[in-house]
Symmetry: C2
Subunit: 223 residues, 2 copies
């Protein structure tokens, strides 16, 4: 059975959005983006196992975990106090075949996931902005992740060193990880109907099309 790992943290999430979203809003927004990712993954295939990888079980995480596990049969939370690389690599070593999908990719759809899993290659890598790795499908238990300092290039080099085939997955929707204000614009433009999109809309975000380049606005607040 295919396994999908989604690393997720709830403590001060999306700090680069702190100028436009309060801490409570950022926590709620991060949770809803995770649900958007889970919706895309489970919409692609219902009989897979989704592991939400969390660094620690705070009270708030415990409540959220119960809520999510109630909503989705195939989702389990797993606590791992190691850093991201250590936690993910332990899963790769144990499972040999696993997909790692970031939790801040609300533009993912079941169609994108289908195309991703259909790619051949011992690893399939989906680039994010600034050299990141937004989705990674590992089909060789010897592979190891390293998520900082330009992970996309590092992951390609790692595959080369192992002598295994790396396929680059070309997707705009998978490339948009929500990090700063400019990314919120992409979510508002392309995320119609997503849970995180609805949340932004409800708290007053909209797109201003009156200028040559669209910009986001928040009701009664200047961004």
């Amino acid at each position: 059975m295919e396994k999908v790992v989604i690393p997720f943290k709830i403590t001060n999430p999306k700090s680069r959005l702190s100028s436009v979203l309060s801490i409570e809003e950022r926590v709620q927004f991060a949770k809803l983006m995770l649900l958007d990712v889970i919706d895309a993954v489970t919409g692609f295939k219902s009989n897979l196992e989704v592991i939400v990888l969390v660094p620690s079980e705070t009270n708030e995480m415990q409540e959220f975990r119960e809520e999510v596990e109630r909503l989705y049969d195939c989702v389990v939370f797993r606590e791992d106090r190691r850093d991201l690389d250590g936690a993910v690599n332990a899963i790769i070593e144990a499972e040999h075949e696993v997909a790692i999908v970031m939790s801040d990719l609300p533009l993912l759809t079941p169609q994108v996931l289908r195309r991703f899993f259909d790619c051949d290659g011992d690893i399939v890598i989906s680039p994010g902005k600034k050299g990141g790795t937004n989705m990674l499908l590992v089909r060789d238990g010897r592979f190891r992740v390293s998520y900082h300092y330009g992970s996309f290039i590092k992951h390609l080099k790692m595959a080369e060193q192992l002598g295994i085939k790396a396929t680059v997955f070309d997707s705009f929707y998978a490339s948009v990880d929500i990090d700063d204000e400019s990314d919120l614009l992409e979510l508002m433009l392309h995320g119609d109907g997503k849970k995180s999109w609805k949340f932004l809309t409800e708290i007053g975000f909209s797109v201003d099309f009156s200028r040559k380049e669209p910009a986001i606005r928040r009701r009664s607040r200047k961004l």
Copy 2:
């Protein structure tokens, strides 16, 4: 025969890069990005017609035109003094079926173009950042383009009003239009071997991987 239109201007191109590239460098860079786009298009299919749409025939454009038309059999330059929308819409009205590809998409490859032309739909639209339309395949002569104030959403609405089918083409490589410094980083990370990538490398650009997030550097200049 398939027609591909590439709008191109040579007068003060890529002005948002003026803090990191001189005017001469920007002109050369814009020319090389155009050649990268032509390479991707002609690499996908050799027997198509590529029209480079230019606003006016300056002396510099005349020289460049002769050079490009000598290099590529299937490329012709066409001067049109109307604005971008007017010039492109006249071609759509005359040809009924045409692809419009922006000239600042150096990460395009023949494979991306193949997947793009394989899409069904009366229009196929490839989103750029900030709501732009980076590639557009029109198969209905009634369609009209409108390239500013959020063209992606406007083009989808236009298709809806005409009652024709719009397909969104999901590509990271096609989404990266080179506009500002952050886009140069994407070209340096993903454009290995492209003419525009070689140019940036030759004039001293490189990627600094020493920080958590990669950044571009220029030799003996601070960006």
